[in-house]
Symmetry: D3
Amino acid sequence: MRIDGRKNEQVRSTKITRNYTKYAEGSVLIEVGDTKVICTASIENKVPPFLKGLGEGWITAEYNMLPRATGNRKPRDISRLKLDGRTMEIQRLIGRSLRSVIDLKALGERTIWIDCDVIQADGGTRTASVTGAFVALIDAVNKLHKKKPFKVYPVRNFVSATSVGIVGDQKVIDLCYEEDSKAKVDMNVVGTDEGEFIEVQGTGEECPFKRSELNELLDLAEKGIKQMVQLQKDSLKMDALWIGTGESKK
Amino acid sequence: MRIDGRKNEQVRSTKITRNYTKYAEGSVLIEVGDTKVICTASIENKVPPFLKGLGEGWITAEYNMLPRATGNRKPRDISRLKLDGRTMEIQRLIGRSLRSVIDLKALGERTIWIDCDVIQADGGTRTASVTGAFVALIDAVNKLHKKKPFKVYPVRNFVSATSVGIVGDQKVIDLCYEEDSKAKVDMNVVGTDEGEFIEVQGTGEECPFKRSELNELLDLAEKGIKQMVQLQKDSLKMDALWIGTGESKK
Amino acid sequence: MRIDGRKNEQVRSTKITRNYTKYAEGSVLIEVGDTKVICTASIENKVPPFLKGLGEGWITAEYNMLPRATGNRKPRDISRLKLDGRTMEIQRLIGRSLRSVIDLKALGERTIWIDCDVIQADGGTRTASVTGAFVALIDAVNKLHKKKPFKVYPVRNFVSATSVGIVGDQKVIDLCYEEDSKAKVDMNVVGTDEGEFIEVQGTGEECPFKRSELNELLDLAEKGIKQMVQLQKDSLKMDALWIGTGESKK
Amino acid sequence: MRIDGRKNEQVRSTKITRNYTKYAEGSVLIEVGDTKVICTASIENKVPPFLKGLGEGWITAEYNMLPRATGNRKPRDISRLKLDGRTMEIQRLIGRSLRSVIDLKALGERTIWIDCDVIQADGGTRTASVTGAFVALIDAVNKLHKKKPFKVYPVRNFVSATSVGIVGDQKVIDLCYEEDSKAKVDMNVVGTDEGEFIEVQGTGEECPFKRSELNELLDLAEKGIKQMVQLQKDSLKMDALWIGTGESKK
Amino acid sequence: MRIDGRKNEQVRSTKITRNYTKYAEGSVLIEVGDTKVICTASIENKVPPFLKGLGEGWITAEYNMLPRATGNRKPRDISRLKLDGRTMEIQRLIGRSLRSVIDLKALGERTIWIDCDVIQADGGTRTASVTGAFVALIDAVNKLHKKKPFKVYPVRNFVSATSVGIVGDQKVIDLCYEEDSKAKVDMNVVGTDEGEFIEVQGTGEECPFKRSELNELLDLAEKGIKQMVQLQKDSLKMDALWIGTGESKK
Amino acid sequence: MRIDGRKNEQVRSTKITRNYTKYAEGSVLIEVGDTKVICTASIENKVPPFLKGLGEGWITAEYNMLPRATGNRKPRDISRLKLDGRTMEIQRLIGRSLRSVIDLKALGERTIWIDCDVIQADGGTRTASVTGAFVALIDAVNKLHKKKPFKVYPVRNFVSATSVGIVGDQKVIDLCYEEDSKAKVDMNVVGTDEGEFIEVQGTGEECPFKRSELNELLDLAEKGIKQMVQLQKDSLKMDALWIGTGESKK
């Protein structure tokens, strides 16, 4: 039995609220247990310098926690003039994950900025961010699509994420903070609606882990991602219909 | 008639939600029309270097907007390595306003960190921050008081704030963003439940203003602050009973 | 009787020296008692990005204190990589104050940089900066006007500033540092030669203040601003003749 | 056939030179094909604040590339005042990897600083850094051990790393830069001499990958790590004898 | 004949005003032609970390130019978050020059901060800074000496500086800005009242120079330093009497 | 007899390895005793803003030490967000020295970036950097020249550097770290193959020095520079033939 009474393969109660704030082209509040993240997608009609003139778009992500999203107040980055390494790692993960299912040529010369701001953190903020950000991204892309349809709809697959890990001698899914802080192995997995992986990041900081353990964890992760994709579908409903319809699908 | 149908002396619909997040000692969501701010109060058992050993406490505030709290995405401070001047001005205002009604000796050697994070901005974020932060502060102070009563309860007065301004030829209260951007005179006023002022900041960026106009604006502000204090009382209910009971009241 | 023997409504001995340094288009040393500030106005033939192509000019201000302008040496901003909040607040105040009487369309596509560097600080550095900067600004504007007359002279009014406050139970004007550090209420007021206000910034950090007190302080401030404007006129003499002659005057 | 004539499962020619510079407690030049990294281990007799008084040690890593380690000159971090995200990610990976096989209690209250400076980069700099840094770490630990033997020798396992990926339709090991820039899937794997994993980081930026592909890549990685561990053993010879002899081995 | 009518070996008219501002322990305005620098010396009763507990003092210097000290406005360091290289070079020169004649043991555990702020720059600001800072330093040291005499007076020699250079085919002393910008060889020399050198910094950026030219320039510099020392003596009068009287003189 | 058995006028064993890394247009490892510096020259086909459109090129230099190039680990600049003053001074010296023998007009609108990264430091890193960087510069210039010959070959002279100083009562050349840390006078001299000086930087931090001592040190430096130039010639061989052949030679 887990700390919060869940079974090992059970994800926490998850809720996706679309149109959470009024200005962003896509704006989602995702709640995974007590973890709450505001994910917005903002469209900018230009691309970073390294893409200028190539006719391609870009997706980039930023991640942050409110100072008191956690048990102890964490000073703001600006007060130390440095972005911390964990934050960088997470925002790079979010950006890469979303880009992997986007046809950047089809998107055209625009940038979609993803902002994931953690209001309350109870473990799994990076995977909740990926899952929520995908929904915000679809809302933003559809806003463009409804105004002037893309020749090729630029999103090829759903993207969801979940965490898995070894706590004590148990392999569990969707670790809450208390579990996470005791985990011997901690893995974040990002995948698609077709059961493929986008990111597999497993870490045994306390001690190494066996290939067989890795396999069991991946089994769990596949189940979790499936559930998360279903939640995205339930939330997006008709607005998900275009996903994967582009010819450029591989 | 104002843009949103309000009368000149009418504040927007305001809602205060206490215990909005689970970790902070005080945590409030304040909604003033479409302006939404999360205000938390965090207790730290030490004081800044300049107060060490003096037996006094400290209140300090930080303010920030989520990148897409506004119509255009605003880059995060950390990406420019600079806190912008407007943000600094606002967080200094919030800190000073709250300190002016606190008996720092009675508070004892601890710091209360106020964090105001704007989720959605539609004008008046600084005054909403002051009003919401006061409620979060009371919740944090009471958490201490209930565990081990203060000899002298450290909060002497309620603190609320509102904005007033001249839009076209009308003096109006609680300007929304659209009004604010057209205002010739813009004033933020912080006051107490006893009708006194803590901060009066009037600016005529576009053109100077007359003393008689200042007076009319102050009349309006007094009414608005009164309403905001009432909302704080309605929200805090019994938890407001200690305010002003300390002997140190001036 | 005040610390330095002045009456409550008496400003300190003030002196304005024009052409204080040789390169700047306008360069003024203003001495208000022991407070000494070098104010320069520099013309740059371009505008910030947000004004590009609009045919308007811009006025911006920077403020700084020499490290040993005060009793204790204050480390330079660059050694902490941060501009402090007080400095930001002051330079924003100076910029706003001057812009409020300038017809930016008439000025044309150029920026006037105001630099206020405090050589010696004895209270009232921000108000001295405003008063001195206005004179430097006129000298810079006239340098342009004499070379090639503006169609509409871009300065509509004189701008001066003074501080007022409550020290002990006395309302006093133009506080020196010792008074300022004991003041219960501290107010900075910027106004014009026509008796209008541009900025009213009153703060009761130690305790709130009544509307009647605010009124008495504003009475004092009006007198002080009047005297400061007179000093500006005496210093500028014939060079002040164009002020307020533009058609765009409101 | 690969670009440089290697077989898919063939790592590049690798050379480890110990005592490469004279001051550091451990100093290694590792060359993997044309990738060259100087790895040093420096002992400091104190620990970071969060470990003070706990009787434990710490291992931390920093990673950097000389500006012209690559085809195009890369500006130094200090010129942009920012550490880039890739660098952060890599140095966090190196630190975590080494800590996972260290008994920090046994190490005692000291920090070992690992510095990996890339002289020439041709793909695989992060995995070369891990492999080289481990050897430098052993040299530094042994310097302590020879002076005053640890009660429990603090290193439990060898740590090596390699990269694998999918280039075209081939699964290959130890990608050079040209392969890396064309890879659809890119994975970095850190493991031990006992065939266990410490870090598995697989990324499909261009497109998602199947579980079966992941498995084939992990098979390759296991072979590569085995070879790298053998190289470490050949280089360290007798100096590797203590590794894994501590009682705390798990 | 030089641009401003001087002879090659003639320094510009120089004036030293002591007690220029009221707070600093030493405060000097030095004017060398149109170059004007405020030099202050501030005493702090602690030493930097690397000297803690050694019973020695420290002298450190900072140098800055007001933004409009020059023909074109120079942005403040803080706006670029970087101290420029020229500024660093100069402040290190000033610090080293003064330390070379100070008995730091005799000074005791205190730091003297030298601040050189250039009000107006017309060439030779670094040498004017050294010459002026020395006088400010003596005033600060004497303030200590008069309160409680040093066992060994800590200043061993006068320190003055001047610039020399080759302009066209002429070797000249004390270059003004216009000469400096055309000079083929530029040298700054710091020396003592006994004709010894502390710093010799000669640069031929445009082209190399011969040893014979170096010798002629040093002849000129020796004359200039002699004159500057005399000016310091004339300014300090009786307050210079202790210089060089300590037993620690070498 | 010196610490390492050398005679006073004897430089340390010096070795120049060209083509040390594979990407840079010029890449040199210079070893002067135990001091080892990697010097690269990188060509960029644009110039800094202040030279745009003038048809001239630019040479700029950056210098850095690996954290453990020295006896104690030195934190990286980026961790303090500041470039230290010594580093700035050195990189400015390297840049100026090389520019003084370059015909920037002849070079054309391109920048050559010099990077000097110290692998191991045992005194004299700045002079080794100058000497090594010159060779890397020639290799980069020749790469251009061989592809498309310059009308006027842009390098007029060889540039080498050495250090001299007074240690105890001896004047010595090419000080190692131990000597340098005890030196009373320390001088760095940069010169040409024609016996002219480019930079003379003498410092008597501990105490002033006489003109006669300066002269003896310059005699030593001349000898050392001569030897260094010979080493450059031996290393460059035929690739040095173009140096000084341009018509623009002065």
